[in-house]
Symmetry: D4
């Protein structure tokens, strides 16, 4: 029942003043009603479905998956381990990708929309890059991968210059010197989401190195998410892509 309904019911006397107050305080204030807010709720639900598995017991993960899966039909879990997967798999049909560590319940959208490019600097950045790519795909975006494009051989980036230009968003994944994000930002117009990774050693400081590099990127158009946060980058890239694709489509019809 949305806010309109609630107020109508109250005016009609079918719900008490206490009930109105309880629900206004106890529920999401965004849960108030209107088409746009429905749209927002959908978005929220999408986010709510994401389960940060790390630090949870297998039983907790399984319970949350069961609960969300029954309600929403799809669930995404990040940073899962094998034991958590097995615990969930006893209750429902889930897939786990050992590289990205994503745990997925439900079918992905049939048609992937728009285009997101995920570029990464080295092979060791693969798990984070895949987490970004598969997250965006889970939500329904089409993803093009270009891995192993570190700036030590910067010419490799030129071969994908066109690819970068017509993406809705670019995710740049890099550890060590993290210069990839700045260089990509200097090469193309779409928003670049930098994901520093903990790949490296010594002065990479488990990802602080590339994080700082990306924050200082001289090329504008680059923003940054947390170290190893492939999920966050994939989610954000999808949001930008979905809105851009939808904008084209909505107007088209």
């Amino acid at each position: 029942m949305d806010l309109d309904g609630l107020l109508d019911a109250f005016a009609a006397g079918s719900v008490s003043r206490e009930e109105v107050k309880r629900r206004l305080l106890g529920q999401s204030v965004v849960d108030i009603g209107s088409a746009r807010l429905d749209c927002q709720r959908t978005v929220r639900t999408g986010a709510a479905e994401v389960v940060f598995c790390q630090g949870k017991t297998p039983a907790q993960v399984a319970d949350i998956f069961k609960h969300l899966g029954d309600r929403n039909g799809t669930v995404l879990g990040t940073r899962s381990n094998q034991e958590q997967y097995e615990s969930v798999a006893e209750k429902m049909l889930v897939r786990r990708d050992p590289v990205s560590r994503l745990l997925v319940y439900g079918e992905p959208p049939a048609d992937l929309l728009g285009k997101i490019v995920v570029v990464s600097a080295g092979t060791a950045d693969l798990p984070v890059a895949e987490e970004a790519a598969q997250t965006a795909e889970f939500y329904g975006s089409r993803v093009v991968r270009h891995f192993d494009c570190g700036v030590a051989g910067i010419h490799r980036l030129y071969s994908i210059a066109e690819e970068l230009q017509d993406a809705s968003a670019v995710v740049a994944v890099a550890g060590m010197d993290g210069a990839l994000a700045a260089v990509v930002g200097g090469l193309c117009a779409p928003p670049v989401i930098g994901v520093p990774t903990s790949v490296g050693y010594g002065a990479s400081f488990q990802g602080i190195g590339p994080l700082i590099t990306m924050l200082n990127a001289c090329a504008p158009g680059v923003s940054v998410v947390n170290i190893d946060n492939g999920f966050g980058a994939g989610y954000l890239a999808h949001m930008i892509n979905a809105r851009l694709t939808r904008a084209s489509g909505e107007v088209a019809e």
Copy 2:
């Protein structure tokens, strides 16, 4: 002369092989030609116009402004001081906003497009918030400002919930605890660009505090730019807004 022209001229014998090679190596490889690359050049030019004034002498700033202004018609300078302004003003008609420290040459676009919301936590964050807002306006985006919305009185954010929802992008500017970005990210669907500021004292560590908070934002959809980097956030927000607005428009016709 773009790449097509260059190759034609070479085939026609009007430029030598050495000249072709010199220009291919010596010029931007993106300067090669095609509608999409033209579009890119425009974007690049936009970025190239930005002059990071801090650390430059007044004479250097004036020279760069003169050079860019003659070529492009508009120039944006960031982190300028009064002395630099005066040096430029001797050569050309520029405006400097003492709050945002932006130095602007040329007229802004007549019609501002789309919508970007800039929210900030406190009055002391104003300079950074204004830098973001005015940067986006310089490039042609319409900006709505909601300042002084810190989470200590989080209900203020609810009053602008609708405003946030239909923005192309939201810029969240906050120092001290920096929680604003995470809370805004949890309230709305558009991409949120967090700008940590150096406002605060003690454990805010000149902006490291809110920077770390924003990087750890539990709400997905939040990415972060450098401390006090209002320009970067405004630029990125504009890029997202411009593409989104254009997508709607292009399809419409």
Copy 3:
């Protein structure tokens, strides 16, 4: 024998001057006597009973528990492991909660007094939140738990607004962005004790992230304890609650 008794015995010649001096230097200076100081000794004893198990051998933990248990009747151990538990369990009847890692000897108070609210941001913060809650219960406070109230879905906090308002103290446990403490501090009047946790990854820096966020909390009324220090927060919350409850009671009679 308190100071009064000691001085009387000295004046009466039943203890020597050397004995007086030895005991004054060698004992707690608070062990001097008077009702209020007795009350203090009780407090001290309560604190002294707490055994920081981490880094001690199982045998050391067992010895300390035996010694304190015989003297005080109850003992609380923090950060214990299974092996330490087993070593103590050979000597006396103890309970260990594997979530909070607390090791407890003796019966808790029959009637729990007052009210402390422990709120936490995510499921993974549970161990620290439980350490806080069970510590406060060990000392005799009544605790209400509200877990999984992170600011990404901040409306969940509104449903417990009343609950927060009439608590003696609120313990806010959060990792990652740690914004919970600031938001709770902005929502209610009781003292808020923030406990940053090492939950998270990347720029949470094993808890430095939420620690800094909480220290910078824009809402006044928030203070902070060490990362993962659920015990410290529970102890402090109990002290505030016990004094507040006692104040009401003492005056009542």
Copy 4:
């Protein structure tokens, strides 16, 4: 108009559904009505009155003071400078203490209640200690000051042991090694609020040194606020004192 009134008016048809929705979204959700929430609003107002002056222009500070002063009768400003004071003083009768940098409008409560003890380690910590003390006094608490009690001469603390024991809360202000908070925490039962200061040099790192020391305090019962945050400590100490004093009093009658 509180929520009850609003709902009644809606039921009675005197306000429209749109108006109800606008106000629910646009106002503080805690602004809904009931004696307890009124009490909360009072608390909020108290906090809202505090103006963090640092980084604001004199004109901004004066505007905020005028606005708040007209509504609330009293206003507290922290970290003010002389110029801000003069700007405010043109509009209204304010006092500024150059040591604590507090800027105060309105009369303090006639009768100061309860007892807070503020101890500080050295003479150079005075500004922060005074900020804490005067903040608590502004809100109506009685404050006892014991300055220059650093642990290098720890016996000085013993002379105030009784004083500490019957306080509602103790504020311990120290720079350099910051050991004062831990030692005070080990000497008395009331909650101890540690305020690390930026006094010192070298490895005190502008207050990080004492901050870390206080967070690691072995004695339980100690919590910490931001570096140099005398205001936060004084506010929190007052809140604890006021509730404790009120609890005694309320029951008494």
Copy 5:
């Protein structure tokens, strides 16, 4: 052959100029000869005997022990593990203390001289405290241990005030808040060598916390060695004690 001998031999023509030059460059320039320098060589040798075992293979440790043992008669190894011990034990008769991790070859001096006091804050600091104590004993100093004297119960320190005063040097070992060194430094005249330990969690940052605290110690007379460096403190305390004891003795005869 010392420098005198070398020069005599050169003057006598029994060594060539090249040989003189080779040896002057190739040998320790302090290896030149005289009673005082012999004394220095003895000191150097003592230091040279210390084997930092961490990071060496068992075979390397065994080789070094065999080599030094044959030459010097005694060898001290620090931070050894069980495997290294077993490797050495196949070649020679060594003892390993599992608490301090010291590996010792040769008999300790029959009569221990002077007095060093080692105080430590908690039971978990025992390994470092024992490393300090046993190192000093290895070199021939008499050591008095007072463990578990943390400042949370600071009165325990008063009972050993006399003990501290007539020591040649005091080693203060503490993790967590590390306040012990400052407090001991305020209580007694001998030089206090602070050893921060990695005991603790969260904001103790593996010993950075107590390290910073000790460096900021308000009481003069305190200096600090590396985190967990019990060996360094024991060695330094012994050097001070040996010189002080020797000074008394030498003059006496």
Copy 6:
């Protein structure tokens, strides 16, 4: 086909304008042709052959080795583990040195040229020192090793003073206080490449200690590579040595 060939082919009409554009964008711009650029490609190839094994799966390492080995004849892998070695060894004949963790395919150059000196401070620095030495040897440089030359016994360095002076480059490997690089830099003229190692404990902070020391080296002529980056130092030393040796040789003929 190099750029000359490409342009000729285009002028001759045998390749289309689209093909020219595709290849100019898609290939390395340095891959355009000329003897010097060939020389550069050789250099690049040398670098490209290096496989950073850490974080790659055994199968990935094996695939890359096979691919590079077939093309280049030799491959160097750094930071390999035993499992990766075994995976590669199934496909081709490789050697792995367990100390330096280098994985090598192909024969080293028959004649090692010039001279590089690698000095290290302690036995525990051996793995990094060997990584530097063997890397330089892999590329064809002659290496002289002087290990265990820490500044605690600084006279050992004097015995190798001549050795240092006529080297093409000196690699100085040290953990803990890292003073070796500064001292070596003060003793000799060749460029000194400092390699801080993670050997040590406590305030060495996994190599940050010696890194900072080396960056602050008072002696000019010292530059620094990443912590534990023996490969980088060996590679750079080889490049300097090869060019210096070649310069002598080229001119000679």
Copy 7:
């Protein structure tokens, strides 16, 4: 009246039990009486005389100097500025050394005893080195200065090798790479007190660089005080020297 006297007076009935208790709690517990404790009080007084001037107002410094000067005859102030000097000079005859910033009241001891060597790395370390030297002289130690002995020209240290060997203690003052302390520690037997200075730039991080270097000194016998803490080093060196010199002398007679 010492403790013996107090107890006698109490036994004799001339002081009441309340008076005994008041004084035991209110005074220094070390103020209890005995020749040795008198000696301690003298030591304490010496320390108490030191006024940390930084952060105090000129008037506060003058008051403290007047008070201490009247009681003790001599006062030492550290980190004073010119304004503070002038304020004190209005009340009493003081000297201020602008290099070391020490402010001294009273005559130094006529005969300086023993020997302390202060070595420093560069000319810019002079202020800290002089603070150490003059502090030791203030207390009565004889000081030999050897400045500008940085390790970049390490041979300079050999010329003072004998000088170092027969010192009671060596103070090693260095900024930048801070290697001096380790090298000196490897050259001589006396205790070496390292003083890192904030001299340098970039990665010296205002003294953190040399601080970390000194803490990691491979040579045992080195301990460290706070950055720029010349006073602390001079005080500690004096304490070691005074006790060593006194030991010789006391036995002699």
Copy 8:
């Protein structure tokens, strides 16, 4: 008198054994004599001539310049200010470049040799880049400058690719993201010396950002000097260039 002369004189009886010992200990051990060591002395002298002016008084700088100038004929001072320049200029003819802050006495070499390329990222890096370039020129190297080549417009680097390839060494000067060094390292074979600068704001942390980026450079062949240390980079580049140029030359004749 060199070592040969000293030994001859001793053998001839014209200097005593004591004199020999005194001079061997008291002088530089490299001051012993031989063609190679002369060469070394020349190198040392070059380094010794460099005066780090920062933190020295004008009078001290003038004295050192006078002393060194008389002995060596040329002197280089770094980080000088105007006041120091004026003080020196009273005594001798010196030049000061206000951009690089270098203070130079004596004529530069007539013919500059070899080639060093100094590239910098932005205009604000100019002072550091000039310090590097002018230092190398002071010692006699020919320097080619390419400023304003930041990676945001990375194509600018391609235009100087040939220039980079035939340099003896490349100095890459960059603040902010510091990616320039890695990209240059990936483009050319000569050794690249990275100089991070303190240009930037926020997360560049006064140069820590580019420092870490450069240390993590994925391209081998890059080493790093201290933040803003243009002198060190110029000196090192000269040393490499001089030896390389000399090697060619020596063989040629």
